[in-house]
């Protein structure tokens, strides 16, 4: 790999300096969504449906409005009409129209002079409902006779004759699967289920918004993408995007769940109705769990043919996924291509349907669709490896995708690092540790596409030779540090001389959110190009001073140098000298780069987990955990490791504990952290990491996004380890103690 030679020359990339926002975040000074306040600010509260499915007959806010200090109430009647498509879905989710579609669906909002008063007023808003039949389970929603919860949700892709709750259909594949199954020594077929889980960011959604009677507004909001917030709020409220200025706060976790809007238009609408007074709205935890965007629940059939030597001859999947009461939200379009993405198999058939159900509108969650797909496919591969007594890593190496393999979803892979992750996992000491009684080991691989997307970055050279970088992707996990490192490396100046700021919507062109593992990749790529543009200008300034051609100047170690002896003999001109004189040499020096970034490198990882299962209680203890993943190039390795560890922890939670539990009444039974139990410190061991580096040719420093793949392998790896420990296979997540215990008892 040619880039490895380049890599040895890096001065800063690959080091682990302190993140620039670290001080603010350990002292409590960093300002998150709920930490903003403005003079004259009102507080808002939301009235939510207690029914899974109900017609809204009447909303009477007169008692609430009669309270002193209550300034405004908004209902759907206050929002513009005539929206279509996803804009209409967003508006329908912001405030219910004719029907409430899930437990927690917002029906009205109120603004008052204090938080307590707003809550009191919300309780006084009387809503009359006509309760309708509901359905929350994905298979039940598809069953004959299921209540059809919305008419006309099917798009062009749904063939005639499908159940009325089916919104989308997808099918693709290659090769002859029947011939493939005929050529196999064993063909196995199973059904797997995963429940909906929530991203579980610790910071609830929060914003402060102000909008005048002229429709000009401003908001401070915790979000992964403030241009998305601007566009969506503008659509829902019928205002112009340019009239809305959105400043992102620090963000307390997102994982995909803060790439869209839920309540954000409400404080704008309330502010406008309350004479332009700013309005703050902060969700409670139960509102977050009931009414933001969890992931889809899935029911998945998998069929695989394998020869005795482990060669996979064919694979077939049929996925059913529900993403709430709105079409287009379940990740079937991602889950299907991810299902067999780690393999090079001659014959594959993929089919999926999206079903709507009376649940909240799903949002993206870290590698959307991939963890469920991996649970189904990797679990069955593991079952077949155990049946044929084959090593799971050897089988994956035998069938694994490599450079030039035709991917399961069609295109040929360019440069990928799956095999390298498998080899590194095999060589890791964890893979050789002997297992004791009631212990088992699980292995799984995972994939995510990664994403580039719309990106705009500016860089300004300071008078003292420092550089300020303006990016539009909120920093959720250290991307200011990684982008600062790349800019400093490019300019040849110290890391401490680069300040990276996340700026508001008025300061840059449109940026997509921090999603798709793109911040370090895409904002980083654009920042490097912006730095190169500034270097070009600085070389021009030096050339003018030296009275030589700009082409005869080269940039290294933070200074302009004459390129070779023919260019003339001049001492290097540093960025500080150029910066201090730029006013007189032509004006401020900036670099910009605006691009829809392409060239993402696909991301692969392999996990190995050892568990011990208590046969008396069914409780699973994770003994040790290994994440191996290809980072392309690890710019700041500590934050790369952090992404691996955090993804693994979320995946372990999904595998062992986390699930949305709906009662027969269609209401969410566990909308607090006590009952929706995410992993706590005492649930987990240290999470070992190996960073594999197969540089991505599509990035100037070889970066691949690292954020998402890590959540994918834990689901099947943990279930497979439990199978190894107990001899029972759990095919329906989570592997909670009662479920595991019942399976052990049933086996006898």
């Amino acid at each position: 790999m040619a880039r490895d030679d380049v890599k040895t020359g890096y001065k800063l990339i690959g080091t682990r300096p302190n993140r620039p926002d670290g001080l603010d975040k350990v002292t409590g000074r960093a300002r998150y969504g709920a930490d903003f306040a403005l003079p004259g600010m009102l507080h808002a509260a939301v009235v939510r449906s207690p029914h899974a499915h109900a017609r809204i007959v009447k909303i009477d806010a007169s008692k609430a409005l009669a309270l002193d200090g209550v300034k405004a109430v908004v209902t759907r009647a206050d929002l513009p009409t005539g929206l279509t498509g996803e804009d209409l879905n967003l508006q329908d989710n912001t405030l219910a129209g004719e029907k409430a579609l899930y437990d927690g669906h917002a029906v009205a909002a109120v603004a008052a002079t204090s938080q307590l008063l707003a809550q009191d007023a919300a309780r006084l808003i009387e809503v009359t409902y006509e309760v309708l039949p509901h359905v929350t389970d994905v298979d039940a929603a598809m069953a004959p006779g299921a209540p059809v919860i919305r008419e006309g949700v099917a798009d062009y892709s749904v063939p005639e004759g499908m159940n009325g709750n089916v919104a989308r259909h997808m099918e693709f594949g290659h090769g002859d699967v029947e011939a493939g199954f005929a050529a196999a020594d064993i063909v196995r077929e199973q059904t797997y289920k995963t429940e909906a889980t929530h991203q579980g960011y610790i910071e609830p959604h929060a914003c402060v918004a102000q909008m005048g009677e002229d429709g000009r507004g401003e908001m401070w909001v915790c979000t992964q993408g403030h241009w998305y917030i601007r566009r969506m709020c503008a659509s829902v409220l019928g205002i112009e995007a340019a009239n809305l200025r959105v400043t992102p706060s620090e963000i307390g976790g997102g994982f995909g769940g803060k790439t869209t809007i839920f309540m954000e238009p409400l404080p704008l609408a309330l502010s406008k109705k309350a004479g332009g007074r700013p309005v703050k709205l902060v969700m409670s935890r139960s509102e977050v769990l009931r009414a933001t965007g969890p992931t889809a629940s899935a029911s998945m059939d998998v069929k695989i043919g394998m020869k005795k030597d482990g060669t996979i001859t064919a694979g077939q999947v049929f996925f059913r996924m529900q993403g709430g009461a709105f079409p287009g939200m379940s990740p079937i379009g991602e889950a299907l291509p991810c299902a067999f993405a780690c393999y090079d198999i001659p014959a594959l058939k993929h089919e999926a349907v999206e079903v709507i159900a009376n649940r909240p509108k799903a949002a993206a969650y870290r590698a959307p669709g991939s963890p469920m797909a991996a649970f189904a496919v990797e679990s069955l591969v593991d079952e077949m490896c155990r049946e044929l007594k084959l090593d799971p890593i050897a089988v994956r190496l035998k069938n694994g995708a490599r450079n030039g393999s035709k991917s399961s979803y069609g295109p040929v892979y360019n440069v990928i690092g799956l095999a390298e992750t498998l080899e590194a996992a095999k060589a890791h000491p964890n893979y050789a540790i002997p297992l004791g009684k009631n212990q088992g080991r699980g292995v799984a691989s995972g994939f995510w596409f990664n994403h580039g997307g719309e990106t705009s970055v500016s860089l300004a050279v300071g008078e003292d030779g420092t550089a300020t970088v303006m990016i539009g992707t909120p920093d959720i996990g250290g991307s200011r540090a990684s982008i600062g490192l790349m800019v400093a490396e490019t300019l040849g100046i110290p890391y401490e001389d680069v300040r990276v700021n996340v700026v508001e919507t008025g300061a840059l062109g449109v940026n997509e959110p921090t999603h798709g593992s793109r911040a370090t990749f895409a904002s980083g790529k654009a920042a490097v190009e912006a730095a190169r543009a500034a270097i070009k200008e600085m070389c021009k300034r030096a050339a003018a001073e030296w009275e030589i051609d700009a082409e005869a100047v080269e940039w290294k170690d933070g200074a302009a140098h004459p390129a070779g002896p023919n260019a003339g003999k001049f001492p290097p001109m540093t960025i500080g000298e150029i910066g201090s004189k730029m006013g007189g040499s032509g004006g401020p020096i900036s670099g910009h780069h605006e691009v829809t970034a392409e060239g993402v490198g696909a991301s692969f990882g392999t996990h190995v987990v050892d568990v011990e299962v208590d046969p008396e209680t069914g409780r699973t203890t994770v003994l040790r955990y290994l994440v191996v993943q290809d980072a392309g190039t690890a710019i700041h390795p500590a934050y790369v490791e952090g992404q691996y560890q955090g993804g693994a922890a979320q995946g372990i939670g999904w595998a062992l504990n986390e699930e949305y539990v709906y009662g027969t009444d269609g209401r969410l039974q566990n909308p607090i952290f006590l009952d929706y139990r995410i992993p706590v410190a005492s649930d987990l061991p240290m999470i070992d990491t190996v960073i594999v580096e197969v540089p991505n040719p599509g990035h100037p420093y070889g970066v691949r996004g690292v954020g998402e793949t890590g959540i994918t392998p834990p689901l099947p790896a943990v279930a497979s380890a439990i199978a190894g420990a107990t001899g029972v296979r759990i095919r329906s997540l989570p592997c909670s103690p009662p479920k595991v215990l019942a399976a052990i008892k049933a086996k006898g």
Binding site: D155, Y156, S157, P159, H169, M170, E171, F172, G173, Q199, F255, G256, T259, P331, I332, G333, E334, P337, E351, A364, Y365, R366, A367, P368, Y409, G410, P411, V412, Y413, N414, W448, F449, N450, H451, G452, G453, E454, H515, G516, S517, R518, T596, E598, G599, V600, G698, G707, E708
Partner: protein
Amino acid sequence: MAKVHLWASLRRFAEGQEVVEVEAATVGQLLDALERAHPGLGPAIKAGLSVAVDGEVIANNRAAPVAPGSEVFLLQRLKGG
């Protein structure tokens, strides 16, 4: 002519063909030509598509180049977390 591979459920909008050949220098031209030749594909294209051109996934860029003989796969528009 670029070879465009349609996923199975799109083929019924293109007379059952799995691979459709179109003349195009960019992704945008390719999608326009597809819709002209097979109007039934219009809703799918309007719903948002990603494409892979010779192995490179193009999430959303009509200006991305397509070469004569490029192998192009249509994908549903991808989301990320």
